[in-house]
């Protein structure tokens, strides 16, 4: 944590650390096994304001700086990744569309409920043939009187099972697409014609759910276009800004997990060093540990430096892409090599690394794969 942190934030930070240690970590495996975050935990998050870390104070959020937010996320992910994910969409992809581009009315109507955690939110961009690009989006919205009529399917939508509000991206002009033909809508749960599929079965992140969304002649009021009718066609830009913001967050999550994995490995290695095994036979494992620590050190400096730049108002598109690719790949490397230290015991779910190994794998895929990040980085380096 920065030494320049305010006393208020220091207190919050310390509360979160305490919560992780005393309340979340003890139910690390329980969340995995029962595949859900208990509601009393969500209530604790609500009381601490964690659903609204990044939402402006005027709308009931904590209005944290980027550095402060990253610092809390790192703490919150020093345990099962799904805890952070519970508040994740509200702080990031599920709310940022409104924060960035929403009308005042939309902000007043929705942000307080999001910040308080009364409503959970989701972000619906991905489709079977469309990841981070607009060209593959098939979901369409057609204007019919005072309503837009949505048709199409969205997949892998995080927190869809509990969310009340979905920032939904659809094509409004087939010809223009990314260049003015894609629009962002606010769709409330329960809107006729909008249904939510069963929970996906995933490799990890068991306590955090994704589902398919189905829109069948789903009628959404005109005023639910994010930013109002003058923002029709600007939804791809909104979506990209939303994803931009998510890159540092993914990095911070990966960092928290990496640190957790390393600390578990240290405990194990110390135990081995104290056992009857030969110390000489543990030199290789010690070098594995040294490489973990070095990468994590690098990762952390990248993240907080980028967060600082963002708080200074700099454009950090390139830095954020580098943070995402390096920190999420570091987490996978750290998890992979931790197994060399932990051996067979590392494969057991009761050793939390088994869970973390599966969880961190997602970070390299979602909200822009590593390949998308590398494309962004090289494009920035090569532009004149």
């Amino acid at each position: 944590m920065e030494t320049t942190a305010t006393p208020e934030f220091k207190q919050l930070h310390s509360n979160v650390r305490k919560l992780v240690k005393e309340t979340l970590n003890p139910i690390f495996e329980k969340v995995e096994k029962e595949a859900k975050i208990p509601e009393h935990i969500a209530d604790k998050f609500r009381r601490l304001g964690l659903f609204g870390m990044s939402i402006p104070r005027q709308y009931g959020g904590l209005g944290l700086s980027t550095i402060e937010e990253m610092s809390l996320i790192e703490e919150m992910t020093y345990t099962n990744a799904c805890f952070r994910s519970r508040v994740g969409t509200n702080n990031s992809i599920g709310s940022m569309g409104i924060v960035f581009d929403g009308t005042n009315r939309q902000k007043e109507q929705y942000l307080p409920r999001i910040a308080s955690g009364e409503w959970t939110t989701s972000f619906a961009l991905t489709e079977p043939n469309a990841g981070s690009d607009a060209s593959g989006i098939i979901t369409t919205a057609e204007l019919d009187g005072d309503h837009w009529v949505l048709n199409g399917n969205k997949i892998f939508i995080t927190n869809a099972d509990t969310a009340r509000l979905f920032t939904t991206i659809a094509v409004t002009d087939e010809k223009k697409r990314a260049r003015g033909g894609v629009t962002a809508f606010l769709v409330e749960r329960g809107t006729p014609g909008f249904s939510i599929g069963p929970t996906d079965l995933k490799m990890g992140f068991k306590g955090s759910h994704t589902c398919e969304l189905v829109f069948k002649d789903c009628r959404v009021p005109k005023e639910n276009v994010i930013g109002g009718m003058e923002m029709v066609g600007q939804g791809f830009k909104t979506a990209m800004r939303v994803l931009d913001k998510g890159r540092l967050v993914a990095g911070a999550c990966a960092l928290g997990a990496s640190q957790k994995i390393m600390d578990i490995s240290i405990v194990h290695l110390k135990k081995n060093l104290a056992s009857e095994k030969s110390r000489d036979a543990l030199q290789a494992a010690q070098f594995v540990l040294a490489d973990m620590a070095t990468q994590i050190f690098a990762a952390r400096q990248m993240l907080y430096h980028s967060a600082r730049l963002k708080d200074e108002g700099k454009n950090i598109t390139n830095e954020a892409a580098m943070v995402k690719v390096f920190l999420t790949e570091t987490a996978s490397r750290v998890a992979d090599s931790a197994m060399d230290i932990l051996g067979e015991e590392g494969c057991l779910t009761k050793n939390q690394v088994e869970i973390l190994l599966r969880d961190v794998r997602l970070y390299r895929i979602y909200e822009g794969t590593s390949e998308i990040q590398r494309t962004i980085i090289s494009r920035n380096l090569l532009k004149n």
């Binding site: 096994k33 991905t126 043939n129 469309a130 990841g131 690009d133 060209s135 593959g136 997949i155 892998f156 996906d200 079965l201 995933k202 490799m203 990890g204 056992s275 009857e276 095994k277 036979a281 290789a284 494992a285 996978s332 992979d336 197994m339 060399d340 051996g343 067979e344 590392g346 494969c347 057991l348 779910t349 009761k350 088994e354 190994l357 599966r358 794998r361 997602l362 390299r364 895929i365 979602y366 794969t369 590593s370 390949e371």
Partner: protein, 383 residues
């Protein structure tokens, strides 16, 4: 000079396995097994019926009279077909290796046909809590009392234990006063179901979830003296020879897992589009496929060479076996990881299988000796 040519029998075997997979590895069936963490009992029994288990047992014991090389081909093909079911079938007979190699005629007659025919699983109980691959730190003891061995101790990460198991081959300290650990251990056959055996599942785990994996305790378990495998106090050497072969078979499984994940990702990228083009048309996708295929090819050659060496030397070449295990398992982990990436969001979903291949690959790498352990073995031969 000739280089790696399959003979007619080997081609037939490959064909037979392929047909078997096509007929028996049904996606719905496997999905059910995966969801319920169940051993593929039906498929296993059928594999036994058509002779895919105990391929290397002599024909008089219901085997096919073949060798390590053919076992490798079968393990590779089965795990390519399905990483989890393949592992269960390939490893069903591992524990019989000691009987085959060192056992008495009576032990062979009693157990090899049972294993080969898919009537009983075989279990090895070697390692113990906290000792990893350092088997010479084992403390489970067998003491002679009259005409019986009395066994006490706890073995960990025992595969194939539980209701389907026919027997456990237990590495026991039989000479506590031995001058060197090399002469302190014996391997003893313990029939499953003996009084005093306690089997407890190790619980949820990263991969190999369909296979029984347990901690097994032995409390005053009594078996006849004749249950000793081979010579007394030669257990550690016997076990090490068998582990040498098992490393090759583990490499073969990893090879199959890698190939299976590769098949699936190649199929995916040829079909899916992004930015309006097939994924397979992007240079970066193609470069990844090329890397994956090169690693797999190298692993295949190392594995086949190790198998060939094992058949043509009495004990095999420990260095080559460890190289095969090291390289093939690393390849499997990396190829499966890259497969998940190539499939993107789909790769993270259970339905698309590669995440399961990845988990099975990682477990294959850690079990039977981590990378560090394999490198230790190789270096001991080099220096």
């Amino acid at each position: 000079m000739t280089f790696l040519q399959f003979d007619k029998t080997q081609k037939q075997i490959k064909k037979a396995v392929k047909d078997f997979i096509k007929g028996e590895f049904k996606k719905e069936v496997i999905n059910d097994l995966v969801e319920t963490y169940s051993f593929p009992e039906d498929i296993w029994r059928k594999a036994g019926e058509i002779g895919l288990i105990g391929l290397n047992f002599p024909e008089e014991y219901s085997g096919q009279g073949m060798g390590t090389f053919e076992s490798v081909l079968v393990a590779e093909a089965l795990c390519r077909g399905d990483s989890s079911v393949g592992a269960c079938l390939s490893q069903a007979g591992y524990g019989a290796g000691l009987i085959l190699r060192y056992g008495s005629e009576a032990q062979k007659v009693d157990w090899l046909p049972m294993v080969a025919e898919g009537e009983a699983l075989s279990s090895m109980a070697f390692t113990e809590p906290g000792i990893g691959s350092d088997l010479e730190l084992s403390t489970t003891s067998a003491v002679k009392q009259g005409d019986q061995w009395v066994i006490n101790g706890t073995k960990s990460f025992v595969m194939n234990g539980g209701p389907l198991s026919g027997f456990y081959i237990v590495l026991c300290r039989t000479d506590p006063d031995a001058s060197s650990t090399a002469k302190a251990f014996s391997s003893i056959l313990v029939e499953a179901g003996h009084e005093g055996i306690g089997v407890s599942d190790v619980g949820s785990r990263l991969g190999r979830r369909l296979m029984p994996l347990s901690d097994v305790t032995f409390k005053q378990v009594k078996v006849p003296l004749g249950n000793l495998i081979g010579k007394e106090n030669k257990g550690l050497e016997q076990v090490k020879t068998c582990l040498n072969e098992i490393r090759i078979l583990a490499a073969a499984q990893a090879l199959g897992i890698a190939q299976g994940a590769f098949d699936r990702s190649l199929g995916h990228v040829k079909q899916r589009e992004q930015f309006g083009r097939k994924l397979a048309d992007f240079q970066v996708t193609r470069q990844k496929l090329a890397e994956m295929a090169t690693k797999i090819e190298a692993s295949r050659l190392l594995t086949y060479q190790a198998a060939w060496q094992f058949e043509n030397n009495q004990r095999g070449d420990e260095k080559q076996s460890a190289m095969a295990k090291l390289h093939a398992c690393r390849t499997a982990v990396e190829v499966c990881d890259e497969s998940i990436q190539l499939l993107g969001g789909y790769g993270y979903m259970q339905e698309y299988e590669v995440e399961r291949y990845f988990r099975d690959a990682k477990v294959a790498e850690i079990f039977d000796g981590t990378q560090i352990v394999q490198k230790n073995i190789i270096a001991d031969e080099l220096v």
